[in-house]
C-alpha cells in the first residue's frame, strides 16, 4: 500500500503516542477498570481514581481553578451542546463569531428558533476577528460570548485575554471552543477569564476518538442538565444532580478512552506545550513559505510570524475545485487533506468559498520537515501540471 502522508490533523490526529494505544489496550486487557463511582470494589475505585487523576491533569493544562470543575464528554460537540443548551435561554442575546464551527452554530440556531438572539463578530480580509464588533454588538440582554480559540479553517487564534476582559467588564459569560487549540496554544482559564472551556481529546491532545470535556472557571454558573440518567448516587431523586462533574456525566464514562487521553496529556507534559507550539508553528510557516508563490494559489488567514495560530493552512488553486484537488493529492501523492466547507459555513461565506470550498492542510507534532517539504513539492507539481 502506498504510504499515507497525513495532513488532516485538525479533523483528528492519526498518529498518536505509542503510550496512548498501550494505555487503551491495558485499560481493557488488564481487567482492572470497572465503572467509576458505582461501588467500593477495586475495579470501580481504580476507574474512579483514573478519571480523578485525569481531571487534575486537565485542570493544570488549561489553568483551570479546580479539578472538580472538569467533566468528561464524548467530544467537543457534545460539550458545546451540553453547555449552550444547559446554560442559555430563549431570553438571551449571545455574541459569537463568523469563524465558528457548526458544533457551535447549530446549537445556537436551535436556541434562536426558541427566541434567543445571536450576533456575529466579523473578520478582516485575513480572517482576524474585528474586535470593535464586540462593543458594537453589545445589548442590555447580552448574556454570553461564545468564540473558538482557533479557527478550524484559517488556524488564526482569537485574543482570549482581550475577549475575557471584555466579558468581565460587561458581566458576560465567556465560553470558549478549544477544539483546535487544546494542546497547541497556551490556555489559562483564570488569566483569560474563561468561564467555560469545551475541548476534544482526539485532536491535539492525542487521545482516542470519543473523548472530550468541559472545564468550568471560577465563577458559579447555573446549568440545567441536558442529558440525564444514572449518576451512581441520589438514585431515588427524580431530579438529576447538578454538582460538577456529575452535571455533564450521566451514564457510564468512556474510561478506556480516558485512559488513552491521560497518556496523551502525559505526552504533552513530557514534550512541553511551549515546545509543541513552537514546532507546529515552524511546520506551518515552512509549508506556507514554500507554497505561497505557486502560480494560482489562494491562501486564507494571516501567516504573519507574530500571529498566534493553530497548525492549519487552507488554500485553493485557481481552476480547481477543492474536492478535485484533495482527491488528486491523495491519488497521485498519497496526501490526506480535507476539502470542502469544514463545517464552518460563515467563514466560507466571508471568503466567498461556499462553492469551491478550500483544501485544508493541518499538521501535528508527528509530522516531519521532510513530510512538509514533500507536501509543498507535490502541491507545486500539481499546480504546474494543471
Amino acid at each position: 500500500m502506498t504510504e499515507l502522508y497525513y495532513f488532516d490533523n485538525s479533523a483528528t490526529t492519526l498518529k498518536k503516542p505509542a503510550a496512548v494505544a498501550e494505555a487503551v489496550y491495558h485499560a481493557i486487557a488488564d481487567g482492572q477498570l470497572g465503572n467509576p463511582a458505582r461501588g467500593s470494589h477495586s475495579a470501580s475505585l481504580n476507574a474512579l481514581r483514573l478519571t480523578e487523576a485525569l481531571r487534575r491533569k486537565t485542570a493544570v493544562l488549561f489553568g483551570g481553578p479546580d479539578a472538580a470543575n472538569v467533566a468528561f464528554t464524548a467530544n467537543a460537540t457534545a460539550s458545546l451542546n451540553l453547555v449552550l443548551k444547559g446554560l442559555l435561554t430563549p431570553a438571551d442575546h449571545i455574541i459569537t463569531t463568523v469563524t465558528e464551527h457548526n458544533a457551535v452554530l447549530r446549537p445556537l440556531y436551535q436556541l434562536e428558533e426558541q427566541g434567543a438572539a445571536i450576533s456575529f463578530v466579523g473578520v478582516d480580509e485575513f480572517g482576524t476577528l474585528h474586535y470593535p464588533d464586540f462593543s458594537r454588538l453589545l445589548r442590555p440582554d447580552t448574556r454570553a460570548v461564545m468564540v473558538n480559540h482557533a479557527s478550524n479553517v484559517t488556524g488564526n487564534a482569537a485574543d482570549l485575554e482581550w475577549i475575557g476582559s471584555f466579558c468581565r467588564e460587561h458581566g458576560l459569560i465567556f465560553i470558549v471552543d478549544a477544539s483546535q487549540s487544546a494542546g497547541v496554544l497556551d490556555i489559562d482559564m483564570v488569566k483569560q477569564h474563561i468561564d467555560v472551556l469545551c475541548f476534544t481529546g482526539h485532536k491535539s491532545l492525542y487521545g482516542p476518538q470519543g473523548t472530550g470535556g468541559i472545564c468550568l472557571g471560577d465563577r458559579p454558573l447555573a446549568f440545567v442538565p441536558v442529558v440525564t440518567g444514572g449518576s451512581g448516587f441520589h438514585s431515588f431523586d427524580k431530579q438529576y444532580p447538578t454538582q460538577m462533574p456529575t452535571l455533564f456525566e450521566a451514564g457510564t464514562q468512556n474510561v478506556h478512552g480516558l485512559a488513552g487521553l491521560s497518556a496523551g496529556l502525559d505526552y504533552i507534559g513530557q514534550k512541553g506545550l511551549a515546545a509543541i507550539s513552537l514546532q507546529l508553528k515552524e511546520l506551518t510557516l515552512r509549508f506556507h513559505d514554500q507554497i505561497k508563490d505557486i502560480p494560482g494559489i489562494i491562501l486564507y488567514g494571516s501567516f504573519a510570524s507574530d500571529v498566534a495560530r493553530a497548525p492549519v493552512v487552507s488554500l485553493n488553486l485557481e481552476g480547481w475545485d477543492s474536492g478535485d484537488l484533495s482527491d488528486a493529492l491523495f491519488m497521485d501523492y498519497g496526501i490526506a487533506v480535507r476539502p470542502g466547507a469544514h463545517c464552518a459555513p460563515l467563514i466560507h461565506q466571508t471568503f466567498g468559498t461556499e462553492k469551491t470550498g478550500m483544501v485544508r492542510f493541518s499538521f501535528s507534532s508527528f509530522n516531519t520537515l521532510e513530510e512538509i517539504d514533500y507536501a509543498a513539492k507535490s502541491l507545486r507539481q500539481l499546480a504546474e501540471e494543471g
Partner: protein
Amino acid sequence: MIDRKHYGIVAFPTSQAAAAAEAVVLEASRECRLIPMPEQISAGCGLVLQTHLDDLNAVLSLLSERSISNDGCYEVRFENRKKSVEEWHD
C-alpha cells in the same frame, strides 16, 4: 487495619470529591478506604471515606487545607448485629 465494628466516615457531595479526599488522606499516610454510603445517610454521593475514628479530626483538617468540601462526618458502630450511624462531633 480500620476496626470494622467501630469507625468514622466522611460523606461527600460527589464521588469525585470522595476520590480526591482519598488521595489526600493516603498522601498524608493515614489509613482510609472508600466504602458504600450507609443507608442511614441521605446526603452525599454513593461513596464515603472510612477512617479510624481517632483520625477524623486530622482527616477533616487535611480536607479543609485542600478545600475539599464534605457533607458531614459520622460515627459508625456495630453492636449485637445492629448498625448505628450517628453524626460525629468533635
